[in-house]
Point group: C2
């Protein structure tokens, strides 16, 4: 067998990425979903996705796809799983790798989102999605939840500076259960990498709440995010 035949006797496939884009708003997790104004499956709901191109890595493809929709290029993203069943895309055979992304919901590019006919949907209100996208969301959510219990990834869903009340609401949304306020604050206080900025947020209460930020250097000192 000549060396190049080693590869060429095998089939090739379309490779796609599909992105589960999480946001946090009004105390609930949200997903950025497309109501497809294009074929295939026009009119139905789906994740934002795209095909991997020559000259771009799988991770790069996922970043590109998310940036096309949100305009944001430095999001926290993680690969979830690759879906390779035969009939998963009824059009042609496509292997698709799911990534989740965490977005500060105040920051995305509204023009782009509108142009794609995309909408933020609160997680419990998620409509049925095309292909195996429902399963992708389920898997991504489970993975993101697990990661959030292990490392403070959730912070990527909040603005730079945040109050402890916001942070608690976020974790309640991620874990899907109420958290005791005093126990929560005790736990946060023990994390030296979540530090007071000195600022006070008065938009939500007369008294005002102390603002905190995530100190990446102090965290990386402990172990890798």
């Amino acid at each position: 067998m000549p060396p190049e035949a080693y590869y060429s006797i095998h089939p090739k496939f379309h490779s796609a990425v599909d992105c589960i884009i999480f946001g946090f708003d009004e105390g609930e997790l949200s997903l950025l979903l497309l109501q497809r104004n294009f074929e295939p499956a026009k009119g139905q709901w789906s994740l934002m996705g795209g095909f991997v191109q020559e000259g771009e890595s799988l991770d790069d493809a996922a970043r590109r796809v998310v940036e096309e929709l949100t305009g944001l290029d430095d999001l926290y993203m993680r690969q979830v799983h690759t879906y390779g069943d035969l009939g998963r895309d009824p059009g042609e055979r496509v292997l698709s790798t799911a990534y989740y992304a965490l977005v500060d919901i105040k920051k995305y590019d509204r023009q782009l989102v509108k142009a794609h006919n995309a909408h933020w949907v609160k997680l419990p209100d998620t409509p049925h999605l095309i292909f195996d996208h429902d399963r992708m969301v389920k898997d991504a959510l489970r993975f993101m939840r697990y990661q959030a219990t292990v490392k403070p990834v959730g912070i990527n869903l909040l603005p730079e500076e945040f109050t402890l009340t916001q942070l608690q609401a976020l974790y309640e949304a991620i874990l899907g259960e109420p958290i005791d306020k005093r126990n929560f604050r005790k736990r946060i206080a023990a994390m030296d990498y979540i530090e007071k900025t000195g600022g006070i947020d008065k938009t939500l209460s007369r008294k005002g709440a102390a603002l905190y930020r995530f100190n990446r250097d102090k965290y990386d000192g402990n172990f890798k995010i």
Copy 2:
């Protein structure tokens, strides 16, 4: 755009699977590795891998590849990650999905393994592997370790019936640290799905050790493996 063009304007890629095959022997985790007697990278060490074919799912491809080497077709396998960097295979562009498999090291097909020039290598003695296979092993090990702390997947590395001493040695190998015997047995005793068979193993001690088995029904009753 005609509907078929939606797909055809995008490139296709070779898709492969690479399998991290774990065994347990003499108190240590082992890997089943190929010393390649074929191109490319002949003479070097690698994981067992293969290309995804038309008409088989990604999971099926992984099962086929492991069966080709071991003769075993009902192994515990899990997808780990998909590697899609540009230069990862220096020959052509290949996207590869890693799976780990757990093998009862007494059971594999020695003929097949010999024919592939494969060898069981104790984990600490793992040689340098081609391409990004070192990283795959690292990622698979981390994932398998995590899973083993959450559900009793490790049992797939032991024979049907096993002693508590074996089980403890297995978990010490997986976690890489010694475990207190009494605390370990207390924990196991609380798991009703690990049950005495009534048999006694006398190969390892004069006194003989009680044999146990994993009761899948009782376990699934609690939650999914």
